[in-house]
């Protein structure tokens, strides 16, 4: 769906973010490069600690300044601005207006002591020149757009009077009220029930079509990725390890981790002979004790000496133009066929 002939709207180059901790400085993401094109939905997927949330919060510069360091060589190019080094005053103009964000916990992401209307109004006040009445009309219109029943009534209510799904809709309304170019959605449906997740995913897809917003979707749920993303970035231990159009990634993952991850989800309506799931042995390495070579080496079934000695770059290989961070990538077919449709 993405039109690659277009100029990317956001270019991330050499992104590196570290944290100061009691145990010393630890680099949470390193050498992260990707582009976001207008109107596309790009997924960043990985397990906890892989750096997907840090990446998104670095783009928005939402990490606490007291213990996080964005490496000065990082580039987050957006609209003639390097967000990695832009002054806070410039960032405030970008946040909520050009790039907006929604979060995992709708129950706690809204301020409990202000009304829904107040919280929408706040964003409009920062980024539009609308008068009070204009802002109110716009806010109610946004609530209607995200399919909240009785928007006029809800405008006056407090967050605790709404269900989790409704609150996530309000978050989306706030995020989209200034028509941002990019919406960063950090695990937007993880805390929601599956029928509510379906509502929110459908709503996001619908709004994307109507408003042309690019979506950067951070998730651990490969099903959500398969359902809504155009392109996928897979992260592991602070690195991008594979990047591909969604269908290529699911059908022919090239990195052993991607393949193993896809296989370890129970498949709808399909059980293996012995009833066991393929697994990835071991656990993600600690960011404090990263190996010298490939970060996946200890869990990889195809490990060779080269993997121990040298960390692979994220580069395309001869048989495909997709970037993979692996010395020995392979075109591996994954059988996604389901026993039946749901």
């Amino acid at each position: 769906m993405s039109e690659t002939t277009q100029q990317p709207i956001l270019r991330v180059r050499g992104l590196k973010t570290s944290f100061r901790t009691d145990r010393g400085t630890v680099t949470a993401v390193d050498d992260v490069n990707f582009d976001v094109f207008p109107g596309e939905t790009i997924g960043i997927v990985g397990e906890s600690g892989c750096g997907k949330t840090v990446t998104s919060k670095t783009i928005m510069r939402l990490l606490p300044e007291r213990n996080s360091i964005i490496d000065p060589s990082s580039e987050i190019l957006f609209d003639n601005l390097n967000l990695a080094t832009a002054p806070e005053t410039e960032m405030r103009k970008v946040r909520g207006d050009r790039i907006a964000m929604i979060f995992q916990e709708p129950m706690t992401s809204l301020n409990p002591v202000f009304t829904i209307g107040w919280q929408l109004d706040e964003a409009l006040k920062y980024h539009t020149k609308l008068d009070k009445k204009g802002r109110r009309d716009r806010a109610v219109e946004m609530l209607r757009l995200v399919e909240i029943p009785n928007p006029e009534q809800r405008y006056k209510e407090y967050p605790h009077q709404l269900s989790g799904g409704m609150r996530q809709r309000v978050m989306i309304a706030i995020a989209l009220c200034c028509e941002p170019d990019i919406l960063i959605a950090d695990e937007p449906t993880t805390a929601l029930d599956v029928t509510i997740q379906a509502q929110i995913l459908a709503l996001m897809a619908d709004l994307k079509e109507r408003l042309g917003t690019s979506i950067l979707l951070i998730t651990h749920d490969l099903g959500v990725v398969a359902q809504v993303c155009d392109r996928v970035i897979v992260m592991y231990a602070g690195r991008i390890i594979e990047q591909a159009p969604v269908s290529d990634l699911f059908k022919r993952p090239q990195h052993p981790y991607t393949k193993a991850l896809l296989e370890s989800i129970p498949k709808a309506g399909k059980r293996s002979e012995d009833g066991r799931l393929p697994t990835i042995k071991g656990i993600v390495p600690s960011l404090f004790e990263l190996p010298k070579g490939c970060r996946f080496q200890d869990r990889c079934p195809f490990k060779e000496q080269k993997c121990v000695d040298i960390e692979p770059d994220l580069t395309a290989h001869a048989f495909d133009d997709r970037p993979v961070r692996c010395h020995f990538p392979r075109n591996q077919e994954v059988d996604l066929t389901t026993g039946a449709t749901g």
Binding site: E47, S48, S163, G165, M166, D193, V194, T195, I196, Q197, A198, Q199, L201, A202, H220, D221, L222, G223, V224, V225, A226, Q227, V228, C229, V246, S247, F250, K251, A260, L261, S264, I265, P266, K267, A268, G269, R271, G275, R276, L277, P278, T279, I280, K281, I283, V284, L336, T337, T338, G339, A340, T341, G342
Partner: protein, 336 residues
Amino acid sequence: MTAPATQELNSTETAEKAFVHAEGIHKRFPVHGGILNRVVANVHAVTDVSFSIARGETLGVVGESGCGKSTLGKMVIRLLEPTEGKVYLEGSEITGLDHKQMMSVRRRMQIIFQDPYSSLNPRLTVRGLLKEAIAFHNVVTPDKMESYIDELIATVGMRPESKDKFPHEFSGGQRQRLGIARALALKPEFIVADEPVSALDVSIQAQVLNLMKDLKEQLGLTMMFISHDLKVVEHFCDNVMVMYLGRVMEKIQSDRLREQAEHPYTRALLGSNPIDDPDERRPLTVLQGDVPSPLNPPPGCPFAGRCPEVQDRCRTEMPPLEMRVNGQAVACWARM
């Protein structure tokens, strides 16, 4: 409450044959209020649930938050007292047993929680944690204690040196292994697993599921597996019970779930799960609205407000759980 008891289960014969059997279980949590602090309302957490689990079988309980699945799980092993209804273990009733009588039964029934960390005493080492449970129930004689602990740790796939570590030193997956080890320490026959893998990453989730599968087979465990994740339940369980707002909507064998499930809610759950294959995208089934409040729910089918096939009757009268072939049972007027 008006629904007749499920036809396939109410015979005493089934109760005797089943390893775990529950009959007409209700749980109401009273809500107090007013000047005199009287009961002004009831939260109907579980309403008229009956089921049987044969020895060695795993029953999956699925549903969204607030459907009563966790409450049900706790009632089955009597961590919570049912307001109404009976639970049988191997044909003998355990509801109504006093504290002392329960002791021997409790050993046979254990629970694994979603977040094992909060259920593990942070000041005890793994050895201490296991020892506590083992000694309390006199599972082995003191001289065999150490070797028994070693054996348990090995069973759940942990390294022997883990024995001297504290719970906070482990990752999420390791903690869940620990939770399983503690449940197994008493050599139980029946285990309630309440969202055991929901808090785990995908790759770790597969490891823990495999471990549980192996243990189930090796030890011949009977299980009740509670989850919100249809795919996990389908993979892990023999039978599935779908709950909505405290009531059973459908029971079905898990390998028939995708194709033969009849209840509109089960179909909606299946349809709202994202697909696995990006090339076969279809619009997700989108149900309107939210789960209604379990506080004094309206009469009739609790799903009526969101059901695409709702009929007039659904709003006034709860459909009975109607028996089909292969143990399937459906509670829906549109499927009569």
